[in-house]
């Protein structure tokens, strides 16, 4: 299919959406109180329940949710329903440490995750290493979002709009509104993006399989044509399920952008209430997405490996030409998918820029510089990082899910320092550093040498086990001596 089925109406809708992002960026700039880091990166710690909920939702559910997950459901079948429990595990993983971290952040004015590490451990080596791991991990994540943008645009347009054009145009919109308004722009655009994402997901359910009789028919069809898609998961998938709950839960909770939302909450009450809603979001978001992937399997069987990541654009193209209503809904789903990708990318980019500016430049070249200068440097770094990653994004080689897993395996190595650091006073800085070094080296080496599992345990979790054993064991030993 070479024509662009989006049509003038659809293009106008998407265009309007993109322009609205830029307008919000401008309004957010006008709302700026000062040039401080906390005003730019944390919206002046002013996020109330609703904005916090929407920005958490829009940030946590990404391009991978809308593009990668249907592809994974296509490959794995109903077993991908595991993603409901592992997305919930992120919210559960907040519970041990978020209450205390929010209080500490308010009291001591934290802006980045590194600020907490500096306060808690006072070890420059530990802070630098943890920040380096965070930068590599979320840089990788941002790259995945950029690639998802390109796939979405190229896939939906039947390659009439090239992949690289999709990447460049959307990345430009993001970096413009992000550097204009900081977290205010990101959180306010999240409002529109969240509404679009939610309507898109509801639209998906409406199309793919709206009623229990459709679900039953889908289950029957899969059972008859590919019984593995409905079978009770075997030991290997069960093990992957359990380990992914741990891996995603603990690494998702220490995303820098997640930690910065804990800092940015106006009050503990706002944070509490937003998490009480967030815990339900996997049910209403992921179930439709998984069903869509399975409907895609029934409609377009035979896609292999990376090809399955194209199932969403293929379905949308297919639906768009059926009727005017289905066309309008397909545009809505496309906009929702783009919104999901962009709302995650902008948050990750903002966190990346804050860490580079405050935790690296602010401790070296701009050590005693005023905050306004650091904020300005952060904006420039946003442009530089975006340019570099957009360049990398033009050569996709691995599946989207593969990219995300790589991120989790490194990111989770920071979890002991953050989570145990908050809740366990005996955790000692040198022990934590030793654990982080070993965990990062092992996780990185295994990832680079293509080893995904050690004795059936995901490589990142295996490395986390070593990391925890060292952090806790050495802390006990030091305490005794």
């Amino acid at each position: 299919m070479s024509e662009v089925p989006l049509g003038p109406g659809g293009l106008a809708f998407i265009g309007l959406y993109l322009v609205s992002m830029l307008v919000i960026g401008y309004i957010a700039k006008r709302a700026q109180r000062d040039e401080s880091l906390s005003d730019f990166y944390l919206a002046g710690r002013s996020l109330g329940t609703v904005v916090l909920l929407l920005t958490l939702y829009a940030t946590q559910y990404s391009g991978n949710t809308v593009l990668g997950y249907p592809g994974e459901a296509y490959r794995l079948g109903f077993a991908w329903i595991m993603s409901v429990s592992f997305m919930m595990s992120i919210v559960v993983a907040y519970l041990p440490f978020a209450p205390a971290l929010h209080r500490l952040a308010k009291r001591h004015g934290f802006v980045t995750p590194g600020d907490f590490l500096d306060y808690r451990f006072g070890s420059p080596a530990l802070s630098y290493l943890a920040n380096a791991v965070l930068v590599v991990s979320i840089g990788n994540y941002l790259l995945a979002q950029f690639m998802a943008m390109g796939h979405m645009v190229a896939g939906f347009s039947g390659n009439a709009i090239p992949y690289w054009v999709g990447v460049v145009v959307l990345v430009l919109v993001i970096v413009i509104y992000e550097t204009l308004g900081g977290l205010r722009a990101v959180a306010w655009t999240d409002f529109i993006q969240c509404v679009l994402l939610f309507l898109g997901v509801v639209g998906l359910l409406f199309w793919a399989a709206p009623t229990p009789s459709h679900w039953r028919s889908l289950t029957d069809w899969l059972g008859a044509h590919d019984p593995a898609k409905t079978a009770v998961p075997g030991a290997d998938i069960t093990f992957r399920w359990l380990s992914t709950v741990v891996l995603v839960g603990f690494s998702g909770a220490v995303y820098p952008q997640a930690i910065q939302r804990i800092y940015a909450a106006k009050s503990a009450g706002a944070l509490k209430r937003s998490l009480q809603f967030m815990i339900f979001m996997p049910l209403v978001t992921i179930v439709p997405v998984v069903l869509t992937g399975l409907v895609g399997f029934r409609r377009f069987s035979g896609l292999e490996g990376v090809e399955a990541d194209q199932i969403m654009p293929m379905l949308l193209r297919d639906w768009a030409v059926q009727s005017l209503t289905s066309y309008a809904l397909s545009v809505l789903v496309l906009a929702g998918a783009l919104a999901a990708i962009m709302s995650t990318a902008d948050s990750v980019l903002l966190s990346l820029s804050s860490i580079l500016a405050k935790d690296f430049l602010g401790k070296t070249a701009l050590r005693n510089a005023p905050e306004a200068r650091l904020t300005h440097a952060g904006k420039l770094l946003s442009w530089a990082a975006t340019g570099f990653l957009a360049w990398l994004a033009t050569s996709p080689r691995i599946t989207l899910w593969g990219l995300i897993e790589l991120k989790f395996e490194l990111l989770i190595q920071v979890a002991p320092a953050v989570i145990l650091g908050v809740i366990w006073p005996r955790l000692e800085s040198k022990a934590t550093l030793a654990g982080l070094v070993v965990g990062t080296v092992v996780a990185g080496s295994l990832a680079l040498s293509g080893v995904n599992e050690v004795s059936g345990i995901q490589a990142g979790l295996f490395a986390l086990g070593l990391n925890l054993a060292l952090s806790v064991g050495l802390s006990f030993r030091k305490g005794e001596s």
Partner: protein
């Protein structure tokens, strides 16, 4: 000291139980047959456990997260 979920051991034991129930390691192969509301039986049971996790979490946050500054 302000109350927080981490101080209540039974909460975490319950989470282990609920997440354990969400992973269908205990389901027999026959649970792949369609059940209410149209999914394979093991999917319905797994989703039921995740609904329980959601309500339990909302309760834990409400009951054990003291939001008042002291």
């Amino acid at each position: 000291m302000q109350d927080e979920p981490r101080f209540h051991g039974w909460v975490w034991v319950t989470y282990i139980f609920l997440f354990g129930a969400a992973v269908p390691w205990y389901m027999p192969a026959s649970a792949s047959r369609p059940a209410w509301p149209g999914f394979p039986l093991w999917v319905t049971v797994s989703l039921g456990a995740t609904v329980a996790i959601a309500f339990f979490t909302a309760f834990v946050i409400h009951r054990y997260w003291d939001e008042h500054e002291r």
